[in-house]
Subunit: 383 residues, 2 copies
């Protein structure tokens, strides 16, 4: 429900004046409705499983995911320090961890095993070393993953150097956090040495091309894949992208690395398709059950209808699936043997009711948060 | 019909082994069907008017545009020199110009004025100086525009320096071609001086972000707009992009310049919307009749339905229109007072028939051209 809330503004305006005020004014019920809205968009984009790190209310998200029928890893966006936080978001390390343990005990394995809960670390700007190391200990004890934004913006790496004496990645290595169960998101500013370190420690990477292009920079994904890192594709949250469409992110992934390196062979369509399927499952630590169609795996699948003007002819079906396919071509979606969408109709929730509810709640949150957006055309008012 | 024909291959493979063999084997009837297929995709993307520079058969394109009901500027992709051309494509300067004059006399002003014909210059690699200067003379005499790929790849600028002693843009200036009626496409490699020159000569620019990102590099669009150049948005041809969707190109335009400059304020949504509407009309030299909703202008319009999971809520309708909107949100399209699509149904041509015909013809052209695409997954065969 935060889509279009913070377009075309500098990062600090984005965070301090728009996103933090908005999310800190969201109730559990708002989070429930927002997740329903987002879930419909995900299903329509052919998403069967996702990892969500940005929520404040795992209870709200969990209820929505149960109803939607999706498979998802939920995490609470966790911060125990940092400047500019709204008072409602400030919490102590102990509290931050115990809330997450409560979420985990309540939701991990729920919805016939479709919901899992991980620990969340927002960024090194807002996470103390104590929080980071205790998170790692708890994640290992519960046998779950950790979701963290890593080397997202240049300023973050500089901040880490100033406050910790090392880059974010080097510091996480010293804290013993670089490991198989870390899903590092964005990772735009990795050095060669850090890519090699990620590969050695089997750290997972989530590549979010639209969001990265918008402000962060261009992640060195081809280099990471050559190094053997499991890189998957994500959309980031709606206010960082405005589209929650994996279909469009596949297209972007196929484009931007060619442009950055000026080498058209650097990111072939089959690699992008693997990033969106098998690598996705690996990044969710769930590849034993999902990510490919094989005997013994869960029945999560998508039916594509390519007979539209935007996808024909099919000279190269894989290329078309990655770069010509649109969400309109996603006809039916099944998760765990159950149809969530069939022939374009969402079967598990009531779309119209959710749209109505989401619009009303989005306006309410914005009012409570006191966010006013500037008009884009002067002539819209008073002319 | 060339979509997906040349993905993930180096530029020379793209051109010599895929695109030239394919296009040189297209008949007028193939071009007609290909334009019908493309036109449906354009209408579904909310396009009402376009400029097409890449065709071989203006007759085929013209027939299709008349039936589709679109507004379009047609041009023949013209070459009179260069290496690696298939024999069918080699023609003398005189012939290249007289065919275009024939096309112009036959099609300019047809379909109740919805069709116009311009002169085409493919690139400086394949155009002699004589062709370029005589094209300019003829375009001025007929009062029409010229469509040319300019400073598209780095190698082009180097080629111009070696063969003409100047960059492409400097050379066009010496030839007297930089003028109001030149639509320069891509213009990725412009210097500051060349941007200033474009502004002074009122040259028009077509920015094709997906295609550029794929191999060419990142055009300096914010700088061009600041300089006062009319920059519009294009999709390039299907084999350079795989999507003919202006809706998605708006999103890309809003993203890539922020990423390149690391400045999120550099390409606000309202600027992108202007590029896709008013600036589009200016680049077509048609702003007296189209590009905005005003008394006295033609009734070209698009109806958008934002009540879908991917577009709600509407905190910032302009931002959502530019970056969240998808082709699914384009509900109805009118050109010159006539509905081409209403409530998602194409009214002017028969979609199913065209899909069937396009698939058969695309396979036929590929066979005649002897193009075999490598398999992307080995396991698809013989396993």
């Amino acid at each position: 429900m935060g889509r279009g809330l913070a377009d075309d503004v500098p990062l600090l305006t984005w965070l301090h004046d728009r996103i933090w005020p908005y999310e800190s004014n969201m109730t559990e019920e708002d989070s429930y409705v927002s997740t329903l809205l987002c879930g419909i968009e995900q299903i329509r984009s052919g998403v069967t499983a996702f990892a969500e790190p940005g929520g404040q209310h795992v209870n709200g998200m969990g209820r929505a995911v149960r109803e939607l029928g999706l498979r998802g890893i939920l995490a609470r966006s966790t911060m125990d320090c940092g400047e500019g936080l709204p008072p409602q978001m400030v919490e102590a390390t102990d509290e931050a961890l115990s809330i997450q343990e409560d979420d985990l005990r309540r939701w991990h394995g729920q919805a016939e095993g479709r919901i899992r809960v991980w620990f969340g670390l927002r960024t090194i700007f807002n996470n103390s070393d104590e929080l980071i190391t205790r998170t790692k200990t708890l994640a290992d004890r519960y046998g779950v993953g950790i979701h963290m934004h890593v080397a997202e913006v240049k300023e973050e790496v500089e901040f880490a150097r100033e406050t910790r004496g090392h880059t974010t990645v080097e510091h996480l290595e010293h804290l013993g956090v670089l490991d198989k169960n870390l899903l590092a998101v964005h990772t735009v500013w990795l050095t060669d040495h850090e890519i090699e370190l990620f590969a050695r420690r089997e750290v997972k990477v989530s590549h979010n091309p639209a969001s990265a292009m918008r402000v962060l920079g261009f992640a060195r994904v081809p280099e990471m894949i050559v190094a053997g890192i499991s890189v998957s594709i994500g959309t980031d949250g709606a206010p960082s992208n405005n589209r929650m469409s994996l279909v469009d992110e596949m297209w972007l992934t196929s484009l931007i690395h060619k442009g950055r390196t000026l080498d058209p062979t650097v990111m072939p369509a089959q690699t992008v398709l693997e990033m969106a399927t098998v690598n996705g499952a690996r990044c969710l630590l769930w590849e034993d059950e999902i990510g490919s169609l094989e005997p013994g795996k869960k029945a999560d699948l998508v039916i594509i209808n390519p007979r539209t003007a935007n996808m024909l002819p099919l000279h190269d079906p894989i290329a078309n699936m990655v770069s010509a396919m649109k969400t309109e071509n996603i006809e039916s979606v099944m998760v765990d043997g159950r149809w969530l969408m069939q022939d374009g109709a969402i079967l598990t929730v009531n779309e119209e009711e959710i749209y109505h509810e989401a619009e009303a709640r989005a306006a309410g949150i914005r009012e409570r948060a006191g966010i006013t957006l500037p008009l884009r055309f002067r002539t819209l008012r008073g002319s």
